[in-house]
């Protein structure tokens, strides 16, 4: 049975990754999950300098999921290179560093520093709905996305994955812009912008007013968008959005994703990533799938 998949020349032992921002840099969840079992650890977004993030409350539960507006708090790329990446090199898993920024120069600075690190790939976060400057501004207009993808691609020594926002009119336009600017892959979906109001206190539950929605309720939206993008571009897709089980992951693969990422499920079940790996293998055995690549995009 083969579970290996390849994206931009990087081979993953299986298609299961962590979704950026839900897994730190792996250290916390290594108490619950054998990181060696994962296709890749995708780190929490890191910027050229430390970011404080948003005021609290930053998280809220909603029906079928949650809202978050962490605001990309992170210790900056230097700490990631000194502390987090050396930790991850102890494991036999691929490492994808998620990079965020407020300006093109921020992204470039972080990518240039990370160029000589042990990271296997970069995922470029142009789709966080919770920071006011930059980030999503690059991910909601096709020409801006093309521009930043092109500039990062010119300096990056590693393959890049542009992470797309679902908060757009037509996600295939964004996928095409990323592809034509040279992105090696795309990942989707980032969270869907949402809002929750506390009707007793007459206040927003999240201090940022809006937050990104994730969790099982967003899965049908994400599967649809992965399917649309798979029909629009030739570069590989990493699909995510509400994956809780191996069966959920199989849906994304059939829609056209080459790999998947597990996000909010980590908060609901700290062993979720490993459970998804095992669930995929069980599906392959019971459905006599010899090679995982057979089912990628098999539903037309």
């Amino acid at each position: 049975m083969n579970t290996k998949v390849t994206i931009a020349g990087v081979e993953f032992k299986n298609p299961v990754m962590t979704a950026s921002g839900t897994f730190g840099s792996g250290m916390e969840y290594s108490q619950f999950v054998d990181l060696n079992k994962l296709g890749a650890v995708v780190t929490k977004g890191v910027s050229n300098v430390p970011w404080e993030g948003n005021p609290t409350p930053r998280v809220a539960e909603v029906y079928g999921g949650m809202l978050n507006a962490i605001g990309l708090q992170n210790p900056g790329v230097d700490v990631m290179m000194e502390r987090d990446l050396p930790f991850l090199t102890k494991y036999d898993t691929k490492v994808i560093v998620n990079v965020c920024g407020k300006s093109v120069d921020d992204y470039i600075e972080a990518v240039e520093k990370l160029n000589d690190s042990t990271a296997d790939m970069f995922e470029i976060n142009v789709s966080c709905p919770n920071v006011k400057e930059g980030a999503i501004a690059f991910g909601q207009k096709a020409d801006a996305l093309y521009n930043i993808t092109d500039k990062i691609k010119r300096v990056s020594k590693k393959p890049i994955i542009m992470k797309l926002s679902p908060n757009v009119t037509d996600i295939t336009e964004m996928a095409r812009a990323a592809e034509s600017a040279g992105s090696d892959a795309i990942s989707l979906i980032n969270t869907i912008t949402g809002m929750k109001i506390d009707i007793e206190r007459k206040k927003f539950v999240i201090a940022n007013k809006t937050g990104g929605m994730s969790g099982p309720a967003v899965k049908p939206v994400a599967v649809r968008m992965v399917y649309q993008c798979a029909n629009a571009v030739k570069i590989p897709i990493i699909g995510m959005g509400g994956i809780m089980t191996g069966e959920d992951a199989i849906e994304f693969l059939m829609a056209g994703a080459t790999a998947v990422a597990v996000g909010a499920a980590n908060f609901i079940n700290p062993k979720a990533t490993e459970d998804v790996v095992n669930g995929i293998e069980r599906y392959m055995i019971s459905h006599k799938v010899e090679d995982i690549n057979e089912i990628i995009g098999c539903v037309k």
Binding site: G21, T22, W51, R58, V59, E61, G76, F267, K271
Partner: protein, 260 residues
């Protein structure tokens, strides 16, 4: 005593000890290893709810491997927990957070302060410090007291009620001020944010070391999501910004180190 796992707990007993306040005894592995002031994440079963509910550990019986959670029904998750019966299974993320530094304060004059649903973890602290010079100030809205009798075998107890129906009228600081002659070296406290702010200020003005237990909405409970941070005076070692994780570096902080 670091212990971190997904515990399959078994309910020993549950009772409503005051209106909307429930006392739940659970048998679980984490109970053998808990520090006073730590908390657990309790997973609801209902698919209406997904995230664990962080609940402070009220007390433990390490030899019997059981822990007591005293919580207020505040929403869908805690409403579900209030229906748990003897022998029901309950999944816990245990044990979370740091707890109060009980070993560091022995030999000193120690004041414990608990307000409302912040009272339960202070009972565990009182038990851990039994035999020391401990004075527990516990504050309620009115005469619907809970846990006050449980403190009695462990320390001196002073009660404050907002309406004055029992003990000193006012809050726990009013009750401390009314106890002339008591000069605490250390305060340890848990309760609503206005109370903790007042304690931080009172401790600073009177040269008293204060440890306060904070709460915040959280998702992962183990330091990965950065949902539950509080502002810090100095840059936090993990985050390298003036925010620290309540679930991991806390929930108990030296009051001087947090900007609340």
């Amino acid at each position: 005593m670091f212990y971190r796992n997904i515990d399959e707990g078994k309910v020993i007993s549950q009772e409503e000890i005051s209106s909307g306040i429930f006392s739940l005894w659970i048998k679980n592995e984490g109970a053998k290893h808990a520090n006073a002031g730590q908390f657990v994440g309790v997973y609801p079963n209902s698919k209406d709810t997904l995230l664990m509910r962080p609940i402070s550990i009220c007390e433990t019986d390490a030899s019997e491997g059981k822990m007591r959670l005293v919580y207020r029904v505040a929403g869908k998750g805690t409403k579900e927990f209030s229906g748990l019966k003897e022998n029901d299974s309950v999944k816990l993320l245990a044990n979370l957070g740091n707890g109060f530094p009980v070993d560091e304060v022995k030999g000193k004059c120690i004041v414990l302060m608990g307000g409302g649903i912040g009272i339960p973890p202070m009972l565990g602290v009182a038990k851990a410090l039994k035999g020391e010079d401990v004075h527990a100030f516990i504050g309620y809205r009115n005469k619907d007291l809970f846990l006050s009798d449980d403190f009695l075998p462990n320390c001196k107890v002073y009660i404050a009620t907002e309406d004055g129906s029992v003990g000193v009228k006012g809050n726990v600081i009013d009750a401390l001020k009314a106890s002339t002659g008591l000069k605490p070296d250390v305060i340890m406290a848990c309760g609503p944010m206005p109370m903790l702010r007042a304690i931080k200020q009172y401790a600073a003005e009177n040269g008293i070391k204060a440890y306060i237990s904070l709460e915040e909405r959280m998702a992962c409970g183990i330091g990965a999501c950065l949902g539950c941070v509080c502002r810090t005076v100095k840059k936090d070692e993990h985050s390298h910004v003036n925010n620290t994780r309540i679930c991991t570096e806390g929930p108990v902080f030296d009051a001087e180190e947090v900007d609340i």
